[in-house]
Symmetry: C2
Subunit: 304 residues, 2 copies
Amino acid sequence: MSLLVAGWVAIDEIETPFERREGSLGGSATCAALAASLFTDVRLLAAVGEDFPETMLRALERPRIDLAGLEVIEGGRTSRWGGRYHYDMNSRDTLYTVLGVNERWEPRLPPGWEVSSGLFAAAGDPVLQQRLMAMVPGARVRMVDTIKFFIDGARDELMKAIRAADFVSINESEARELAGMPSIARAGRALLDGGSKAVIVKLGEYGAAYISGEDYFVAPGYPLEEVVDPTGAGDAFAGGFMGYLDSVGVIDQQAIRRAIVYGSTVASFCVEGFGPERLLTLEREEVEQRYRQFRALTHFEVEG
Amino acid sequence: MSLLVAGWVAIDEIETPFERREGSLGGSATCAALAASLFTDVRLLAAVGEDFPETMLRALERPRIDLAGLEVIEGGRTSRWGGRYHYDMNSRDTLYTVLGVNERWEPRLPPGWEVSSGLFAAAGDPVLQQRLMAMVPGARVRMVDTIKFFIDGARDELMKAIRAADFVSINESEARELAGMPSIARAGRALLDGGSKAVIVKLGEYGAAYISGEDYFVAPGYPLEEVVDPTGAGDAFAGGFMGYLDSVGVIDQQAIRRAIVYGSTVASFCVEGFGPERLLTLEREEVEQRYRQFRALTHFEVEG
């Protein structure tokens, strides 16, 4: 199986209440690809500029990540993002966004990639997300993610992209805004009414909710003692979810539930380091251990 | 079994973004007693003034609630609280608090009540909470709840009350403040280090976390389509938790986990109406149905 992960590879500047990092490897596709590669073979489709550091390129060279789709644009500048977290680590301010090569990136698939088993289109222009889905018509699972910027600026195209996908992953506050509904359950239902097949609402440290016509699933957050940097956790969640799903034989409701818990598990590792740092050393066995711990932490019986 | 529930019975004025109610039955002990009475026999220990309306008294007259400990103070005024919820229903402003008879209430047990099987001391003066625990020395389970007011004003006495109890239930933001720790897991551990036996951190719509020396349990929130009024949900949680625990033969880790889910379940009903309104019509069978639904919503397997 080969999961196509398309989105941004970027250079971040991150400030938490405890530390500041410049020149941190970032971008939605970066964390998603690293997370997914714990479960399946990944094809990374993204663009960087000539200024993209060799060390960052080395970091992305992983046995299960194919970099043939990582285009270095001649004379281009890599996208950059700067953000500052508040004391509670749950909210942040974006200090700047430099689009760079992503201002007019035209994704082109390397030969053979049109036959991919899955697609994760990380947050980006919804028109591009629709094109990406059309590029891999045989994909078994396709998920799009989005952010406030596109809800505000391209709502109709975004809804088209969401309708074309099998899953949409979205932050809680963005789900409320997109649906115009105050409760998560209602927002999820409104998005289903709008034509999406299944909605994953990311609740940050509180876990995730999954809403489809057939199932409703809620998973609490994994209890972490220390959060170093939340950047990329949502993408790590999406990558873990899609990576696991791409790796299973049958995609049924139970597999989807397990995929959500795997996504949460990988995301819980992601926040233990700056940017994707922790994902770079993470082993599948650590993920399995924490997944089992997750079940032990959440399990209860009906009868006494 | 008889669970002693001690705290405030009050008259509330509540404003949500959608509705406003004056003269609503309120108070921490009210919601806790109603919730607990779904599972066990309850003894309500509280004080009201001569102005306490007959209709509210009638509402509290339930088959499983003994009102012998509800003292009407001659010439006294019932405690009053006014609050306004913000748009997201997760945060609120207290508009006023009138202590009334609770300014110098001296709880006295009706004959025989010193032999009670459990005690829930709702948020109140920690010195009083300590006295209440001493009044029922044979109680099998004792829980105290608290609020920011006592963390700020009576931290040492509060820690004494917490150390004397079997469980402390506390809101997330208050747990962080009391422990001086940013993460729930760390705050819980810090409270254990400070001498508490087990900590329940109430996460509002996101559920609850339980931390003791032997166990760690996280339960997500029940997905509700509509929240009418969150007032009393924390007390309904505590009452449901203690009521269920008081009703079981053996209090082990599995029973405690079930009690937390029962607490969350009753709290999810509480927010469907103004104040304790919904609890007044709630039947045990409805609770059991939603409890089973809760398990169906959260269950996942380890193996595919």
